[in-house]
């Protein structure tokens, strides 16, 4: 099995006297989808913020491609190849897909005073990359606001991959989507994984995670309850671990097993 692209060991994070993370270990290998599961408040957000360089851990070690590393800023993490797609997607609805795709990283042609935005190249690349993800745009000049939630998610993912993401962190990409759009996004994750990108898929929906995940790590109250491979665990067990087992068992009794 390939070496992990990023490996995080015994990460802790304290905010004042609140212990958000109490020793979490996690790694991602190229071409796998590693699901990070946890209920609200489990520490998922804090953990990915550390991974993407937004926060610094209170203690613990991060190895990137085998070398110990500490990211000074989100920018540094991005340049190293860790791309994060947050729930707000960093997209501007009034701007075209092509302009959003290259926002902040515009291709140029010409030099000096004549250095200008290469709109033709932007259009071509965007159309090609979106088609590779299975979305046929009406035109790359279509405003992002006209796309569905799932399509927007796909644009954000395609953009991250195009700009050389080695690790792609997806923060609850399916939480606000309908059934059909969710399957599209899951299919996109599968395509990205096959290109050799390590995907970190954050979710609290076990069914979505089971659909694409290769490995699963469950966070509960700032602790990891271990990492399991796909064939080692069932979705019921994951669900139990997320909710802390016992309480959910009680709840399930009254809800007759529908959760």
């Amino acid at each position: 099995m390939a070496d992990p692209i990023i490996r995080m060991e015994n990460i802790t994070k304290h905010f004042g006297n609140v212990i958000a993370l109490a020793g979490v270990s996690f790694d991602v290998r190229p071409g796998e989808c590693h699901c990070l599961l946890g209920d609200n408040g489990a520490g998922k957000s804090t953990f990915i913020k550390i991974m993407s360089g937004v926060l610094k851990p209170s203690s613990g070690e991060i190895f990137f491609e085998g070398k110990p590393l500490s990211f000074a800023s989100p920018r540094a993490a991005m340049e190293a190849g860790i791309a994060t797609v947050y729930q707000d997607l960093a997209m501007i609805p009034l701007m075209s897909v092509a302009r959003n795709f290259f926002m902040g990283r515009e291709p140029t042609k010409g030099r000096g005073l004549f250095k200008r935005f290469d709109a033709a190249l932007a259009t071509e690349v965007t159309t090609r990359e979106m088609r590779a993800m299975g979305i046929n745009l009406r035109g790359a000049d279509q405003a992002v606001g006209t796309l569905s939630g799932g399509e927007r998610q796909t644009v954000a993912i395609a953009r991250a991959v195009h700009f050389g993401a080695k690790v792609l962190i997806l923060d609850e990409p399916t939480s606000a989507l309908g059934v059909r759009q969710t399957s599209n996004v899951l299919a996109t994750i599968d395509k990205v994984r096959k290109q050799g990108v390590g995907v970190v898929f954050i979710s609290h929906n076990v069914r979505h995670a089971m659909a694409v995940g290769d490995r699963f790590t469950v966070l509960n109250r700032g602790r990891t309850l271990g990492t399991a491979s796909r064939n080692e665990i069932t979705s019921e067990e994951l669900q139990d671990m997320m909710a802390g087992g016992l309480e959910l068992a009680k709840l399930e009794g009254s809800l007759s097993g529908t959760v």
Partner: protein, 368 residues
């Protein structure tokens, strides 16, 4: 865009008609407005309005407003307002007058000094907005009063008690830079056309229109430059992004702060440019110069398709918005209509434009 010959075209998407594509251009409203106003004045106004001299007559105020409106439209696309540009005209006029008359500087020093001073105020404006996180509406409203007051106080100090500084024409007499900022361009060309009988002449043979007023040239050049920057440069993309969603833009690596500060510097500098031209033309500067121009510039930008919320609009739209303005303010004098209808017209035009822009925005974003 290349037409795809592939058969994997989404069957749910109807082919877009040319009209539908046109409807999505932000400047459409302003162009339609120019056409409607032209038809209106062709029917109601004296025929002399659309002769060469008539056109120069309304293009000159249009250009003066347009220089402000184009800068204001770029700032609005970038998501901010600048209500201080009108006062900035008076303030920059005072600085310029002081440089030329009181210090006796040649234009080659006075003009850069004035522009640099304005840019500095613009940068301070931008810094305040960004550092405090307050709406630019309030911050620049404060500056509107501060600059107007400083212009009054400063002019009294420079002139020893008057709010008008005179003697500028004498001070710049013969300066080689004067023709670039005042008077008419291409007089030779117009004299030559008059000699050939192509343009109207006075009885002594000199052309009725001695040349193109320089502000019109500045206006056109500025509109082209602004459009180029907005649509064809990375900086243009950053302006749209900063106005569309500053947070998303900076998460994607757009230098939002720098973009916004640069835009505030641009509006202030354009106000100073207008001040220099007005002061050179009039030969004096006055503390009331540029009064309420900030509102007129914003109205022209909105007629030109800018959204008040930022992230959408066009400089070409502001260009046509300013022309509409000039046509109406001057055009009414060619008709029998009371000129004071102008303000009624202006307000209605603004209201119509805002409603129209809102519809367009919904079309673009596909909101329902």
């Amino acid at each position: 865009m290349a037409v795809d010959a592939n058969n994997d075209v989404d069957e749910r998407v109807k082919a877009e008609s040319f009209v539908a594509r046109l409807l999505k251009r932000p400047e459409l409203g302003a162009i339609a407005g120019v056409i409607l106003i032209t038809i209106f004045f062709m029917l109601t106004a004296d025929a002399s309005m659309f002769t060469l001299s008539g056109v120069m007559n309304f293009m000159s105020p249009a250009a003066q407003l347009g220089i402000l409106a184009i800068a204001a439209s770029m700032l609005m696309i970038g998501g901010e307002f600048d209500l201080s540009i009108g006062s900035m005209v008076a303030f920059a006029g005072m600085i310029f007058g002081g440089c030329v008359v009181n210090l006796g500087l040649p234009l080659v020093l006075a003009i850069p000094t004035t522009l640099a001073f304005a840019a500095l105020v613009g940068a301070a404006n931008g810094q305040t907005v960004i550092r405090t996180g307050l709406p630019s509406f309030i911050v620049t409203l404060a500056l509107l009063f501060i600059l107007r007051g400083l212009s009054l106080v400063g002019l009294k100090w420079l002139t020893g008690g008057s709010t008008q500084l005179r003697g500028i024409r004498d001070a710049v007499e013969g300066d080689f830079l004067t023709p670039f900022f005042s008077g008419d361009a291409f007089p030779g060309l117009f004299a030559w056309m008059a000699a050939n009988g192509w343009v109207e002449t006075f009885s002594n043979g000199s052309p009725k229109v001695p040349g193109i007023p320089v502000e019109i040239l500045w206006f056109v050049v500025l509109a082209i430059a602004a459009t180029y920057v907005l649509l064809r440069t990375p900086a243009g993309n950053w302006i749209f992004a900063a106005g569309g969603d500053a947070n998303a833009a900076s998460n994607s690596g757009v230098p939002v702060r720098k973009v916004k500060i640069a835009l505030f510097m641009l509006t202030a500098t354009c106000a100073a440019l207008l001040a220099i031209m007005q002061v050179l033309d009039a030969g004096s500067t006055d503390a009331r110069r540029g009064f309420q121009k900030e509102f007129e510039a914003i109205i022209a930008a909105v007629i030109g398709g800018c959204l008040l919320t930022g992230g959408y609009g066009s400089a070409i739209g502001a260009f046509f918005g300013a022309i509409i303005f000039g046509m109406v303010v001057i055009g009414l004098t060619y008709t029998g209509i009371d000129q004071d209808w102008f303000q009624v017209f202006l307000g209605s035009m603004l209201l119509l434009a805002v409603i129209f822009n809102n519809i367009i925005r919904k079309r673009v974003t596909g909101e329902r």
